[in-house]
């Protein structure tokens, strides 16, 4: 069939093609400049749900990483505090064993009592261990020292739990009344021990040995528990980190541009555009009128 080609339709066609090519060139330029394959949501509407979910998950993992870090720091402080407290308890027990020995005079025992008094102060300071104003043995009332000047617990009995994943929590702030005043109130036990030393009360000193053992054992249990919580926090940090990397890869696969492919496409479009421009300029002269 005879197709009547007109100058107008040829030029219009070239103009439309050039406009379309210029638009595609601009899109590819944007993709290369931003590094994103999806410049507008409507480029691939079917990916929106996935992209939003991946961004939300990434944000969540970032929070969990921060939470795990905080938990590790607090647990480390608690472990440190307890570890030193156990050293104090060891020294107290050592003094109690010595005190129970008949070879020591009353003066020796009074000297011991003075050291025990100092150890008590040290212990209460350790029970008030804090990190950045946050007392780790105060439960949820962690903004004030859990033990006041009269060795009374003023903290909370509710432990502080931190979310380190969607399903896992770690306890990172403990009930100081349970740690230091659970089955045995260590401060009362120390006071009784001091009184025993000052009065050379052998029975009281023997009781102190037993009570110090109990407290030591309790602290040991807490250290074991803290170790367990620390492991969870560390594991969850690694998990969150690894999930975050995985999410970043998935997000990249969905919305990032393949640079090599985009650059190749840009070159192809650019060549085509230049050819079209030349064709357009030559179209003008293609008429018999030019030869009349």
């Amino acid at each position: 069939m005879l197709i009547r080609s007109t100058l107008f339709s040829r030029l219009s066609y070239m103009s439309r093609e050039n406009t379309e090519l210029a638009g595609e060139l601009q899109n590819v330029q944007k993709q290369i400049a931003t590094g994103k394959r999806i410049v507008n949501m409507s480029d691939e509407p079917w990916t929106i749900s996935q992209v939003h979910m991946l961004r939300e998950e990434t944000s969540l993992q970032s929070v969990f990483k921060g939470s795990s870090n905080l938990a590790r720091t607090l647990l480390s402080q608690a472990e440190n505090g307890l570890s030193q407290s156990m050293n104090v308890m060891s020294r107290l027990k050592q003094l109690a064993v010595q005190g129970a020995n008949d070879t020591y005079t009353l003066t020796d025992l009074e000297d011991m009592a003075e050291e025990v008094g100092n150890l008590k102060e040290r212990l209460v300071n350790l029970a008030n261990t804090e990190f950045n104003g946050r007392y780790v043995f105060a439960g949820t009332a962690y903004d004030t020292p859990p033990f006041d000047s009269s060795y009374t617990y003023v903290g909370s009995t509710t432990e502080v739990s931190i979310d380190v994943s969607s399903n896992a929590k770690v306890e990172a702030g403990f009930d100081g009344s349970d740690v230091f005043q659970g089955s045995v109130d260590v401060f009362t036990a120390i006071d009784d021990f001091i009184a025993g030393l000052n009065s050379d009360d052998d029975a009281a000193i023997q009781t102190a040995i037993q009570e110090f053992d109990d407290v030591f054992s309790k602290m040991g249990n807490y250290i074991t528990r803290i170790g367990g919580e620390m492991n969870i926090a560390e594991d969850m940090f690694d998990v969150a980190n690894s999930i975050e990397i995985g999410l970043a890869e998935r997000l990249s696969a969905v919305e990032d541009v393949d640079a090599a492919e985009a650059l190749t496409r840009f070159s192809m479009l650019q060549n085509q555009y230049q050819i079209n421009l030349q064709l357009t300029s030559k179209t003008r002269g293609m008429s018999l009128f030019e030869r009349m």
Binding site: S12, M41, M53, D143, T144, S287
Partner: protein, 465 residues
């Protein structure tokens, strides 16, 4: 054979060649005129004379001027123009909304919602931290601002679409009157060359009208064009009906054909820019409804939980967000008291009996607020979480933009094909015209030569006398 008869025949040849050159000139000059249909001249021979026992030829006769057009192609072009502009307008308007929603930009609804929820999760680790509390307020404020902006932008666009349609009505009615008027003039000019020019003008106006409102057209053999909207005639020969803009009970724009009996609403079936605008308007309306429903539910759920908590001053929780029921998304805002003082965020579940204030690490209510994120109770079916429903809102706009873009591409391809077909039927090929010019030129020269020779013969004859 009479020399005078020959002279007359040659004269007719010159006349016809002149008219042919005129047609070529007209075609060539209009080669790039939008909507122009090529003219052709039909030439026949004059009826011969019988004289002295012989038939004598009388030369050529210009039988008619014809306008090269195919009514089926022109009708298709007009309806496709309406569909093409419909998609383009839908795309252009919704693209603006898509751009405003701006998926990944900080400050967009979805990003600020994510930041807000992230700030609450961070606060849950240290509920007494004033900096973290300030961040919750900052992101909550940014989040409500982002919803306000989108809702206000969408409302502005809706208003401007309505205003555009209303103020364009006179323009549309002028076009309808022009088409009817041109129909009347075409009927009055018979088959002259000017009839074709008027038809071109009229068809161009019909196409412009189709691009605005979308119409269908039927051409009758006498050159008249009858124009329809959804099957309702709006131009019939030299008569036309006007279109009318009105707003329905919901305040939504409607377009109707005015009739003696009242009006026939054609909004839903309209094509062209108006149809596209109406489609975009409806989509924006749906988006606003979804956003309003979302904001209402979000505020209600959040405030209910927040009221059950205690702030750092030992007071029960305020309404964290405020909202009005008329335009929830435009009005959602953070409570002024909380905005001014982040210690009034109520995240604790109880007061400490000794101090009268919540414990620093009490986050029982904050946990409940965070848990709201996972509550699948949004959307018409109540099957989506708050974030998922926001994603649905984004997705519905993006999908519509994409659909409009694909439709526009499809209609543009169709239009391109129809344009080529029309150019093939009605367009002016300059080479063809150049050849015709040569033909008419040669014909003119030959006829002139015949006159010259005949004149010479007549002269010689006169010399004999």
């Amino acid at each position: 054979m009479s020399l005078l008869t020959t002279l007359h025949a040659a004269r007719r040849g010159i006349t016809v060649a002149s008219e042919g050159i005129n047609i070529v000139g007209h075609n060539t000059a209009n080669a790039t005129t939008d909507g122009y249909s090529r003219r052709e001249m039909t030439v026949t021979t004059m009826y011969p004379l019988y004289r002295n026992g012989a038939w004598l030829g009388q030369g050529p006769n210009r039988a008619s001027f014809t306008r090269s057009a195919d009514s089926f192609v022109d009708q298709n072009m007009i309806s496709t123009a309406g569909s093409q502009q419909y998609s383009k307008e839908t795309f252009d308007v919704l693209k603006l909304v898509e751009s405003k929603l701006s998926d990944a930009t900080p400050g967009s609804i979805i990003e600020s919602y994510r930041e807000f929820t992230e700030s609450m999760r961070n606060l849950s680790n240290e509920p007494d931290d004033p900096n973290l509390r300030d961040l919750v307020v900052l992101y909550a404020n940014r989040f409500t601002n982002s919803i306000n902006e989108v809702a206000e932008f969408a409302t502005d666009i809706k208003d401007s679409l309505k205003t555009d349609m209303e103020t364009s009505m006179n323009h549309v009615n002028d076009k309808l009157a022009t088409i009817a008027n041109l129909n009347a003039r075409i009927l009055g000019t018979g088959g002259s060359i000017s009839a074709g020019d008027l038809q071109d003008q009229r068809d161009l106006v019909i196409r412009e009208l189709a691009e605005i409102t979308g119409v269908t057209v039927r051409f009758s053999p006498d050159g008249q064009a009858n124009v329809y909207m959804d099957g309702h005639v709006v131009v019939q020969n030299e008569n036309h009906r006007e279109l009318e803009y009105y707003e329905d009970a919901s305040g939504d724009p409607q377009i109707a054909v005015k009739t003696d009996a009242g009006r026939i609403t054609v909004t839903e079936v309209m094509q062209g820019r108006f149809g596209g605008r109406n489609d975009a308007y409806a989509k924006i309306n749906t988006m606003l409804d979804s956003l309003n429903n979302w904001a209402t539910q979000f505020v209600s759920d959040f405030n209910t939980v927040h009221q059950g908590g205690y702030d750092q001053n030992g007071n029960t929780g305020l309404d964290f967000f405020t909202i009005n029921s008329i335009s929830p998304a435009s009005s959602i805002t953070i409570d002024a008291g909380i905005l001014a003082d982040s210690s009034t965020i109520a995240v604790a579940g109880a007061l400490n009996a000794t101090t009268g204030f919540p414990d620093a690490g009490d986050r029982d209510v904050l946990d409940l607020l965070i848990a709201l994120e996972d509550s699948a109770s949004y959307g018409s079916t109540g099957a989506y979480t708050a974030r998922q429903e926001l994603t649905n809102i984004y997705s519905s706009i993006a999908t519509k933009v994409r659909e409009a873009q694909d439709n526009y591409d499809l209609q543009s391809m169709r239009m391109e094909d129809i344009n080529e077909l029309r150019a093939s039927i009605s367009g002016v090929n300059l080479d063809e015209e150049a050849v015709k010019l040569m033909e008419y030129q040669a014909s003119y020269e030959a006829a002139s030569r015949v006159i010259s020779v005949t004149n010479m013969l007549l002269g010689q004859l006169m010399d004999v006398v």
